[in-house]
């Protein structure tokens, strides 16, 4: 049994880490980008961002004043048991979100869409989002917090099989150019692309591709992995850099996730995870151990399974 107290304490620590510490994979990606950048203004911007990450860690203050909209992804091993059950778990995550908002501090971004009511704690109707995943085997729970920016850089389009790869490329470029101008997408970003599913699942896939995969990771389907490389290069050939200034670095990495869709359609979504790619992860064990990491490791073979049954034996053999 995983204790509730451990869940809340760990969740608060994760909120703090996500807001303050840029994940190493993104940092490495941005450093590599800064080396290749030759636009004078874009170079200045990338260097300022690198200085900013240092300042945030030194002072233990948030990287960015817009600390995004906190959300949770909870992944449970099939044998995990939580003190008080899922309702208690959700209460602990809501408490942690509220406490961290005043503790770090974070910006209380969450308001009612019509009445603009602000509880000053990032908690409200449907906020923070809490989403779930499961894995065969294991008594652990992974807590993943992501504080993605909320306003620009995301789009959806219903494409069709006849649009093909060239249609996918067009919508990808349209999204990057439209939201890259003036730097609205806060690029260079981790671009997530969702393909297929339904409209809602397509958005979920694209968002998860941007926030739950790391820079340098590749889809397990080699042909999709090759597309990811190609799309990264394509995005960086636009000639646009940070803040929409002339430059070479728009995309730190491009991650693509797919889901089976209606036979007549080819849904597509594009998401940009910004210069302050806020994510933090911890695995909690029943004996009280906590292992912190920055790779959500969400998209396992199990998450991408395409068959009716899942052979439990395969997992155990690994």
């Amino acid at each position: 049994m995983i204790s509730l107290d451990l869940i809340q304490k760990t969740a608060e620590a994760l909120m703090d880490k996500a807001a303050i510490e840029i994940p190493q994979d993104y940092l490495d990606g941005l450093r590599a980008a800064a080396k290749t950048e030759d636009g004078d203004l874009s170079s200045f911007v990338l260097q300022a961002m690198l200085d900013n990450y240092e300042a945030a860690k030194e002072d233990r203050r948030a990287m960015c004043g817009d600390t995004g909209v906190p959300r949770w992804y909870v992944k449970m091993g099939n044998d995990a048991r939580i003190e008080g059950g899922p309702v208690a778990l959700e209460a602990a995550l809501r408490r942690a979100t509220a406490n961290a908002t005043s503790g770090v501090p974070l910006r209380p971004n969450r308001v009612h869409p019509l009445w603009r009511t602000d509880h000053n704690n990032n908690v409200g109707i449907g906020a923070p989002e809490i989403e779930y995943g499961f894995e065969p085997g294991g008594e652990w729970v992974d807590l993943i917090t992501v504080h993605k920016g909320g306003l620009f850089g995301t789009d959806y389009r219903m494409l069709f099989p006849s649009d093909g790869i060239q249609g996918i490329k067009r919508f990808y470029l349209d999204s990057l150019v439209a939201f890259g101008k003036r730097g609205l997408a806060c690029q260079p970003a981790i671009i997530g692309i969702g393909l297929g599913g339904s409209k809602d699942t397509c958005m979920v896939l694209g968002k998860r591709a941007s926030v739950l995969r790391t820079v340098g990771s590749r889809n397990s389907d080699p042909k999709i992995a090759a597309m990811e490389e190609e799309f990264k290069e394509l995005g960086n050939s636009i000639g646009m850099g940070a803040m929409g200034f002339v430059g070479k670095n728009m995309v730190i990495d491009c991650n693509i996730e797919v889901g089976y869709c209606h036979t007549g359609g080819m849904q597509m979504s594009v998401h940009a995870f910004c210069l302050s790619s806020r994510r933090a992860v911890a695995r909690l064990f029943p004996d009280g151990r906590v292992e912190h990491r920055t790779d959500p490791d969400w998209f396992t073979d199990y998450q991408r399974r395409d068959s009716v049954e899942w052979e439990m034996g395969l997992e155990v053999a690994e």
Binding site: G65, P105, N120, R182, G183, G239
Partner: protein, 222 residues
Amino acid sequence: MKIREVTLSTTPSAEAIADLRLGDIVYLDGLIYTAREGVYMRALEDKANIPMELPSQSAANFHCSPAAVIREDGSFDLGAVTATASFRFAKWLPEWMAKTGARLIIGKGGMSSKDYKEYFVPNGAVYLSTVGYGTGALLGRGVETVEAVHWHEELGIAQAMWVIRARRMGPFIVASDLQGACLFERENAKIVQNLDKVYEGTKPAVLKRYGETDDRSDEVIG
């Protein structure tokens, strides 16, 4: 091009503003206040009295809400500070500038050259963009003190009017000048020349969107 660095007061002289060039890096000294949709609506639509002497105390309007908390004893804990996209405030800015004498509008993404020519230039004002976006920790270091937070009970922490004393707060980038030129439009014009090549071979979508354009010099802000 060598990037020039300038230190500027938040109650700047007309000469100091005239001297700024697109792409200059600016660090600010003096009082800055945050004002965005909440403050504009309260001051301009609800006609509430602005709780500061403007522009004598500050001519610098920051489109920002900080990552901050007001403690129970009334003191403030302000961490990171970054801007929000300014184009959404075009509706209120002409009246705001006329009323408050704001000469430095600080935010994210700038406005259009049309906005600059119509009401920035006549008011002797320029636009300063934050850098990144998201140099929130660096900007937070430039905040010496929080002098006051107005209207937080009415508007909430994120929309309240924060009055901060800046000491060498920056970096900011000069994104408009007194001729009404726009840094972002200048950069867009250079980038658009390359776009036909990048788009080569791609196909317009089978299902159009209502009102869709293929003009790649177009912008999503308006």
